[in-house]
């Protein structure tokens, strides 16, 4: 029959949509986020809201400028998620303008300039984080000890408003380094690792997240839970998280075995900083990671390797953002070279040939 037809099936559809996908990601981020907000109190809540609202406004503005329909694109939830992820990686008591500038960078520079949803090469939240880290090294590395809401050491509501929206003097008093930052400094000063480690949080504290760090990165356990939920819901597959964490753990164990005095062990690498958040929520960002399984495994392994290298030998204690961006840049190449094998063809694309043709039939 002829081909001149206008519509094609399928006439039934899975209950999938972009907003559902984004919604599931947010849902799985929720436990770790709530924990982070609780543990760092009102300033963290203010910062979190500022960042998200700024992202949404920036998105609406860009859509308007680009002449695209605003409603369907705002409703898809991608801007909220970007803001959410960015806020998770900021120091919880950072001033409001860090969140605002970050949001503008993420949405306008990293996403809309590239052509909007689905077109960006780099993960918007990571672009913003790296840019902020380079431009405002001081604000971006000031971490404070947990001060859970309503606890004695927590700042009150007004005081918190001052922390987030006022001048930043009050912060210095409470600043404290992250586990990785602390270890790096100590090592740099010639203090041996076992000694330095005694002053950092215990593994248990890191697992739970009762340690200083970025707003939503501290609770490895809750992040892991969310990540597993995402895999269960088939929003992401296990390939990137496993290959990334696996590579990181492998390298860390290897060097730790060789010289346990100057190389941090695998547990610390896995549980501290943005490793878990990155493995499940950032490296797996749909838009900026490869689409084939083999590509994803390579991508994950690359992230793990770069994170280890940057954390261990480069100037930044926290290598996640750089690592992910570097691998993002490789994604088109990976996608080009690592395609799935087509049914009935070999890896080179030639039709399969069965050499034992005559033998196995008849």
């Amino acid at each position: 029959m002829s081909e001149e037809t206008t519509t094609f099936g399928p006439y039934t559809h899975a209950k999938s949509s972009i907003s559902r996908t984004m919604g599931l990601v947010m849902l799985s981020l929720l436990p770790a986020t709530l924990f982070g907000l609780y543990q760092f109190g009102w300033p963290a809540i203010f910062l979190f809201l500022t960042t998200i609202v700024a992202c949404v406004v920036a998105e609406a503005f860009s859509l308007r400028v680009a002449g695209k329909p605003i409603k369907p694109f705002l409703m898809d939830g991608s801007a909220v998620l970007t803001g959410w992820l960015l806020a998770m990686t900021l120091p919880p008591w950072a001033p409001w303008w860090i969140g605002l500038i970050g949001a503008l960078l993420a949405i306008i520079v990293a996403k809309q300039v590239f052509g909007g949803l689905g077109q960006n090469l780099f993960n918007p939240a990571m672009v913003a984080r790296v840019a902020l880290l380079i431009s405002f090294p001081l604000e971006m590395t000031l971490f404070n000890q947990p001060a859970p809401l309503f606890s004695a050491q927590a700042p009150g509501f007004l005081e918190s408003l001052a922390i987030t929206f006022g001048s930043s003097d009050s912060i210095d008093a409470v600043s404290s380094a992250t586990t990785l930052g602390h270890l790096k400094t100590e090592l740099g000063q010639g203090v041996g690792l076992p000694e330095a480690a005694t002053t950092t949080a215990s593994i248990w504290q890191q697992l739970w997240g009762q340690t200083s760090g970025s707003l939503g990165e501290t609770s490895a356990l809750l992040l892991l839970l969310g990540g597993l939920f995402l895999i269960y819901k088939k929003v992401i597959t296990w390939h990137i998280p496993l290959s990334m964490l696996g590579t990181l753990a492998l390298l860390a164990s290897l060097f730790h075995l060789i010289d346990s005095d100057s190389y941090v062990g695998p547990m610390t690498h896995l549980l501290s900083g943005a490793a878990i958040l990155c493995a499940f929520f950032i490296a797996t960002d749909l838009v900026t990671s490869p689409v084939s399984i083999r590509g994803q495994i390579l991508f994950g392994a690359g992230c793990g390797l770069l994170i280890y290298v940057i954390r261990t030998w480069a100037g930044y204690p926290e290598g996640v953002a750089f690592a992910v961006m570097l691998m993002n840049a490789c994604t088109p190449l990976i996608d080009h070279y690592l395609k799935p094998r087509i049914y009935g063809r070999d890896r080179k694309g030639e039709p399969l040939v069965y050499s034992n043709e005559g033998a196995d039939s008849k």
Binding site: G9, H13, S16, V291, R345, V353, E357
Partner: protein, 502 residues
């Protein structure tokens, strides 16, 4: 029968699990549709050349009489579904989304339903040779009834060119909603199994794998029972997954081998036939009945009473809807076939044809078309594609107008199953892109072919003209020579005469 319990299955990649909604009609036994007032029987209901009409307006025909004979090797004849008078042979809307007019025989039933034995029934069909079986199947006008409509006899003759070892009977019925094969297996297991055995003999294979998805336990049980006596037949339960019924994927699941790209399953020694085709083969060979009816599922949320009905070929579809109690609401879409790979119907006037397995009236509530969003590279389509393609890349290249690069990415390996579009969260009509590109390529090829043909003809003509000219020249030269010869002779003669005279 050997037991299929422990049969080792192989994994295929991709696939999806659509909500199968078979419960709407699965419980309904096959009913015979009352005789419609008019039948419109298209001359082309199969892949290949259309049949050539043998009747004219005003002719009286009997049930089963040959109405149109096959033209060429890949074609199928058409028979009268009932007795009556031919009202005309002319254009009528096709059972196709375009609704274009195609040559159709219109038959007014006389109500007698009187048979003419165009194929003689026989009891000793065990004695039939493979050639006889294939010949009868060809004469009965049987085509692949799972929807592919490839003439079945051509497929039965594959033994001549390939060494075959396995016949696979496709009872997967993996499309949602459809239950006609399910009912056929449950209600007419004996006929189906006998038909299967006949096909196996025609093919000369040594084993028969009867594959049925696990969501049809009753069908599995009745086929098991009917096949109990046969050593050759193994009933295999398939995991429920779309597109399990895709020929090449079904074969891979069963024998663990992929069909080479652009090849046939026969390349790996396997031939696949559909359940309904098996029953048609039984009818043709044992009962001597050509293919004049088939079972269709009439279902969907907008149908009052979903049913499985046996319909005469050529029955206008609105008769089916009426028989099922009409619509409960105005359906969002009318589909011929299943919701994954079926095609929209232009109207309900079009007739049921040999390849129609379902008539779906889908409700807007469940199948609303949503706005298309940009691709978010979520890889859902890559993971769902059973053919190992990267649908998002192919669609991008097609959108950018570079069809050739989409072909390099495997466009022609795409089976159009729709799994990718089914899962896409951005609701991108991927299959539409692919089918557009495939159509475009085919028409380019045709144009190219036409150009080549024109060129060839022109060259041939030039050559012919050249030859004629050459012949003329030669003839002229010859005449000239003869003339000269004559002249010379004359002159010589004259000289001789003169010499003699002198």
């Amino acid at each position: 029968m050997t037991t299929g319990k422990l049969f080792k299955l192989f994994k295929i990649r991709g696939g999806v699990h659509p909500d199968d909604r078979k419960q709407l009609s699965a419980g309904q036994a096959i009913e015979k549709l009352p005789m419609p007032p008019l039948l419109h029987i298209p001359l082309q209901q199969h892949i290949g050349a259309p049949a050539e009409s043998l009747v004219r307006r005003g002719d009286e025909v009997k049930k089963g009489q040959l109405l149109a004979r096959n033209q060429g090797a890949i074609s199928a004849p058409v028979h009268a579904p009932t007795s009556g008078r031919i009202m005309g042979v002319g254009g009528y809307p096709a059972h196709h989304p375009s609704g274009l007019s195609v040559r159709t025989i219109t038959l007014k039933p006389d109500g007698e339903d009187e048979w003419l034995d165009s194929l003689e029934p026989c009891d000793d069909y065990d004695q039939f040779s493979p050639e006889e079986i294939a010949d009868r199947v060809a004469r009965a006008g049987i085509v692949g009834m799972g929807g592919a409509t490839f003439p079945s006899a051509v497929k039965l003759n594959l033994r001549k060119r390939y060494s075959l070892h396995t016949l696979v009977i496709n009872g997967a019925e993996c499309e949602p909603y459809l239950t006609c094969d399910d009912r056929l297996m449950r209600e007419q297991a004996m006929q189906v199994v006998e038909g299967v055995k006949l096909m196996a003999r025609a093919l000369g294979v040594e084993q028969i794998l009867f594959a049925i998805e696990n969501n049809k336990p009753d069908a599995q049980a009745s086929i098991r029972e009917a096949a109990e006596q046969s050593e050759m037949i193994t009933v295999v339960g398939l995991p429920t997954r779309y597109p399990m019924g895709s020929e090449k994927h079904l074969v891979q699941t069963l024998v663990g081998k992929e069909t080479p790209a652009r090849g046939l399953t026969a390349d790996i020694g396997v031939v696949v036939h559909n359940v309904a085709t098996a029953r048609a083969v039984y009818d043709a060979i044992v009962l001597g009945r050509p293919l004049i009816s088939r079972v269709m599922t009439v279902t969907g949320e907008s149908i009052q009473h979903p049913k499985n009905v046996e319909v005469l070929i050529g029955t206008p579809l609105n008769n089916l809807i009426d028989y099922c109690g009409g619509f409960t609401e105005i359906p969002e879409r009318l589909i011929s076939g299943g919701p994954m790979m079926g095609q929209p119907l232009p109207s309900l006037r079009v007739p049921a044809v040999k390849g129609s397995n379902g008539l779906l009236a889908l409700s807007g509530k469940l199948n609303r078309a949503t706005t298309e969003m940009p691709c978010i590279r979520c890889a859902s389509c890559v993971n769902a594609c059973p053919c190992g393609l990267v649908p998002l890349d192919m669609a991008n290249h097609i959108k950018a107008g570079s069809l050739d690069s989409s072909v390099k990415l495997g466009l022609l390996d795409c089976i159009g199953c729709g799994s990718c579009a089914y899962v896409c969260p951005s609701h991108i009509p991927l299959v539409q892109y692919f089918n557009y590109a495939k159509g475009e390529l085919a028409s380019r090829q045709r144009t190219q072919h036409k150009q080549n043909e024109t060129k060839r003809l022109a060259e041939a003509r030039n050559e012919r003209m050249e030859k004629i000219k050459q012949a003329k020249r030669e003839a002229m030269a010859k005449r000239k020579k003869e003339m000269e010869e004559k002249k010379r002779k004359k002159a010589e003669e004259a000289a001789a005469v003169a010499g003699a005279e002198s």
